[in-house]
């Protein structure tokens, strides 16, 4: 009988396929040069942390025991981080918009009564949502209008349709610069919706997708969002049109009813997603600088919440409760209210 080496290769293929399938996702993340910044609660204080894409080497970027930083948003060129800072207590809390270099240096304040920053594609302008009232309310949609801060001059200008923008939250700027996606709750005649707001005009489109907290992929081809407390979805989107449309859901990441998943963000190459995950709760008032509300909201302590990553290339349904480490990478593990992750590609060193 003549030995055929091809038969040996063919026989081994299923085992190889299994071996590939079983490779932990974190191994793929180890090869990434992208970084992730996120908020955490340590030593009775909110801080911003920076870690590698596989969750290794977490570094405290802010180290400010007397003020509370959250909601980090990195500029598309990877050089700066916009974030919010809380000072004061209760309804006298002042939430401010700050910016710093992506290594944590050169921090400066841009505006008071400002929340939920988002970057222009050219990294020269930061959009933000002015607070609805002078008195603080932790609920995320307590906003009125939309403003833009020119980073070079510090000059702040309202959106051309600012007067009519009300109760928006979680805005994100499309890479083509044309649209700003945001959720609206009980405002502008909408019950609840994910909207596309024209940057330089007054057009507003209801995407028709249910849920909240949209995030447009860096390649501009997809939108990720949370259709509910227990699902993250992605779908193709056409943002170049004057009448943008969202296609059917391509990927659905689900979890059980005892766990929430929120704050989805795309990696710079649109190939991975990071997500915050943890049990339902409504805060812990024994912790300074925190508020009582749904734990996914900025400023509310989220007990046992961590950040995970999944591949954005997969299709169909990924049930996190039956997922293996080939499907999911656990990026943080201490459960210390780790939320609002934001990927970025650090600029090449000169």
């Amino acid at each position: 009988m003549k030995f055929n080496p091809l038969s040996l290769v063919l026989a081994a293929l299923p085992f190889c396929a299994n071996a590939f399938a079983a490779e932990p996702l974190v191994n793929q993340l180890k090869t990434q040069t992208a970084k992730i910044v996120y908020e955490t609660y340590i030593n009775n204080n909110w801080e911003l942390m920076l870690m590698n894409a596989d969750g290794s080497n977490p570094v405290n970027l802010t180290q400010s025991p007397t003020v509370h930083e959250h909601y980090p948003q990195v500029s598309p060129d990877g050089t700066k981080i916009a974030f919010s800072v809380d000072t004061g207590e209760g309804r006298d809390t002042v939430r401010s918009l700050w910016v710093m270099d992506s290594d944590g240096k050169n921090r400066r304040k841009l505006a008071d009564g400002a929340r939920e920053p988002f970057w222009a594609p050219d990294s020269k302008t930061i959009g933000f949502l002015p607070q609805e009232f002078a008195k603080f309310a932790v609920i995320d949609y307590s906003t009125k209008g939309m403003s833009f801060c020119d980073l070079a001059t510090g000059k702040i200008q309202p959106h051309p349709n600012s007067e009519k923008l009300h109760h928006l939250y979680n805005p994100t700027w499309a890479p083509n610069g044309k649209w700003i996606a945001a959720t609206v709750h009980a405002g502008m005649g909408f019950d609840h919706a994910i909207l596309l707001i024209e940057r330089n005009g007054t057009n507003i489109f209801n995407t028709g997708i249910p849920g909240c907290r949209p995030c447009i992929s860096p390649d501009g081809k997809e939108i990720a969002w949370g259709p509910g407390d227990h699902e993250i979805a992605t779908a193709p989107v056409d943002l170049d049109s004057d009448h943008p449309t969202v296609g059917p859901r391509r990927l659905r990441i689900t979890t059980n009813k005892e766990t929430k998943i929120y704050h989805v963000d795309w990696s710079p190459k649109s190939d991975f997603l990071s997500i915050s995950r943890g049990p339902e709760s409504d805060g812990d008032l024994t912790k300074p600088g925190t508020f009582q509300s749904a734990c996914e909201i900025v400023g509310v302590y989220a007990k046992d919440w961590n950040i995970i990553a999944v591949s954005a290339k997969r299709n169909g349904v990924l049930d996190l409760n039956s997922a293996t480490d080939a499907d999911v990478a656990q990026l943080t593990k201490d459960g210390s209210s780790n939320k609002e992750s934001d990927w970025f590609q650090p600029p090449a060193k000169k």
């Binding site: 609805e132 008195k135 609920i139 009980a186 005649g189 609840h192 407390d229 409504d282 749904a294």
Partner: protein, 300 residues
């Protein structure tokens, strides 16, 4: 003849409620609470009705199982908002209006979480220099019933106010008149309406039978009436898990059955929900007023 007497009594009570002031109130001219309900305007301009202390039969043996047993309850005098809390009132204390329908600032607030309703109460108290009832440092925002500020009504206070001395399911009589007194499923066109457009109950309180259902302070327990105390009951203790709070009164989506004065329901508080979608959950406030303070208030 009996009905005529009742109608006359009701008319007398209502006319007493509606007297317009001709001068600044003094201890001598202010309405006296022992005479019956008396309307007044708070320091922040909100209309309220001071209800007299009294005793009534709470619940119904002929209703749903959680309405039984009917039992006698004594209630201390308290003041209740004449109308449901509106979007306009929320804005005054700088709290965002979460309502599905906010096309008019005078529409009742709905989709409001139980604790956010309590926050409104505390803010309103602070704005008027009253001692807030709720301790915002505790997980449930525990209520100090002795404080001078605003709070949610207890379930017993709510039913006492709604019944307005009547023994029937509706203080106005038979269900065929419900359309005159409340926005319910059969006349609401599936939405809320500006408060105060329907007839008030006999004590001058509007929209108790419809528009939005109203949060109460109490934990909901279907068996509570079996052990409820006879004087100013405040509901059972928090069981710690899957807690529901009492909602009372009909809403824009209620059947006549659900609008009955004794109808009870429990509702999850929404405290862990970023967006609370229950668009029939509203509220109104109450507070205790000492006679000497009432004498200084501005009667309506």
């Amino acid at each position: 003849m009996k009905n005529l007497l009742i109608a006359l009594l009701a008319a007398l009570l209502l006319s007493a409620c509606g007297k317009a002031p001709t001068s600044e109130p003094t201890a001598a001219t202010a309405p006296v609470k022992s005479d019956g309900p008396a309307e007044f305007v708070t320091a922040s301009g909100i209309e309220m009705v001071l209800l007299p202390a009294g005793e009534f039969t709470m619940g119904a043996d002929s209703g749903n199982p959680d309405e039984a047993p009917a039992h006698r309850v004594k209630i201390s005098s308290f003041a209740m908002d004449k109308f449901e809390v509106t979007g306009e009132m929320m804005s005054k204390v700088q709290l965002p209006n979460p309502s599905h329908w906010s096309d008019s600032p005078k529409k009742p607030v709905e989709r409001i979480r139980w604790r956010d309703a309590k926050q409104f109460c505390n803010e309103r108290s602070t704005a008027e220099g009253l001692k807030p009832c709720y301790n915002e440092k505790t997980p449930d925002w525990d209520c100090d019933y002795s404080a001078s500020g605003y709070r949610l009504p207890t379930e017993a206070e709510w039913e006492y106010a709604c019944r307005a001395g009547a023994k029937e399911a509706y203080d106005f009589g038979t269900p065929d008149k419900l359309r005159q007194f409340g926005w319910v499923a059969e006349n609401s066109e599936e939405k809320t309406h500006v408060v105060g457009q329907k007839k008030p109950n006999r004590w001058g309180l509007h929209d108790l039978y419809g528009n939005v259902s109203e949060w109460c302070e109490d934990v909901y327990d279907p068996a509570y009436y079996k052990t409820s105390p006879a004087q100013d009951p405040t509901g059972p203790p928090n069981p710690g898990k899957d807690v529901q709070r009492v909602m009372r009164g009909g809403s824009w989506k209620s059947t006549p059955e659900m609008a009955r004065a004794t109808f009870r329901t429990g509702q999850k508080t929404g405290n862990t929900d970023a967006c609370f979608y229950t668009d029939y959950c509203g509220f109104r406030c109450v507070r205790r007023i000492a006679p000497e303070e009432f004498a200084k208030l501005k009667p309506k």
